[in-house]
Symmetry: C2
Subunit: 156 residues, 2 copies
DNA sequence: CTTTAATTCTACTAATTCCATAGAATTAGC
DNA sequence: GCTAATTCTATGGAATTAGTAGAATTAAAG
């Protein structure tokens, strides 16, 4: 199960993707999306959302502009941000055990032979299949059709 | 990530599978595996293990016999107990969101249209792929070759 | 330069879940 | 009845999750 943080992060990213001016000229977007709007329309606690947006910024998925007319915008293109990227950033390892993880690998403390571990073997298969799907889907895909009207439709 | 409980449950089930007399005659095994041994050889806190075994019993995966020569044994055959079964029993839903779950379905509180939700759609795919692997692997598969020597080898 | 309205950052709290332990009750065999 | 096992319920601490508070900072606009 994903955390609420992850859920909020996805909602926020989709919101930004759907609202920012994608007309980029010199590398950065021209319109900034305010945390206030994301929070209100997504029914996300604003202060909590700010923390999450900060993490997404540290993860170099979005960036922000301060000040009166500030807000958030994508650094990468939404097409280039996969579910796997967001998952790793917010909820951590995708694998079910550390010893089956690519990016968060840790050795089991009481494992004499990883090669012979049938459980690890099985859970690596789970990881691979999960990754296939999570890496195939990006924010742009999710944004399409998800946001319908400012008043109603958050779907996750 | 799976919980320690899940890890211990798998270790326990594999241990029982490897130690119980599989020579069943009238429907129940003839040899019982003691929690004490499972705990000692698997380095599992005994009291915690008891709780876990109790849950596995309530989930009708194993059964127990009380008394001096008591212990635990499989109700189903180890071949019939899949990773998915244990996961659902111990760690709950396999899907990443409740609205994408088969066995633990819950509606999102703020979702106007499940059919149109692209996130749900993506996470259902994740669930399906995960299930394929988890349902393919059973305790018998995992037990084979995993247990090597009473003194050393727990592998997960 | 001052005001204003936004983000940034750090710290804190409440609630929940996870991990583990304690101990009394129960059961079964000798 | 004694012993050694499971059964069951309760409890406690640690870790994680979810959310809050408030001051600091930034940048545009009047």
């Amino acid at each position: 199960m994903i955390s609420k943080k992850m859920k909020y992060a996805l909602k926020a990213l989709i919101h930004i993707a759907n609202h920012q001016d994608t007309n980029v000229s010199d590398g950065h977007a021209v319109e900034y999306v305010k945390a206030h709007d994301i929070a209100e329309q997504g029914h996300i606690p604003k202060k909590f959302l700010e923390q999450i947006l900060l993490e997404l910024k540290k993860g170099r998925i979005i960036n922000s502009k301060q000040g009166n007319v500030g807000g958030y915008y994508f650094v990468k293109k939404p097409e280039q941000v996969t579910l796997a990227d967001v998952y790793r950033l917010i909820d951590g390892p995708i694998a079910l055990v550390p010893c089956a993880s690519k990016n968060f690998y840790e050795k089991c403390d009481d494992c004499p032979s990883e090669e012979e571990c049938s459980i690890r073997h099985a859970l690596i298969q789970v990881r691979d299949e999960t990754l296939k799907v999570l890496e195939k889907k990006n924010i742009h895909d999710l944004a399409k059709g998800t946001y319908i009207d400012a008043n109603v439709s958050w779907t996750i």
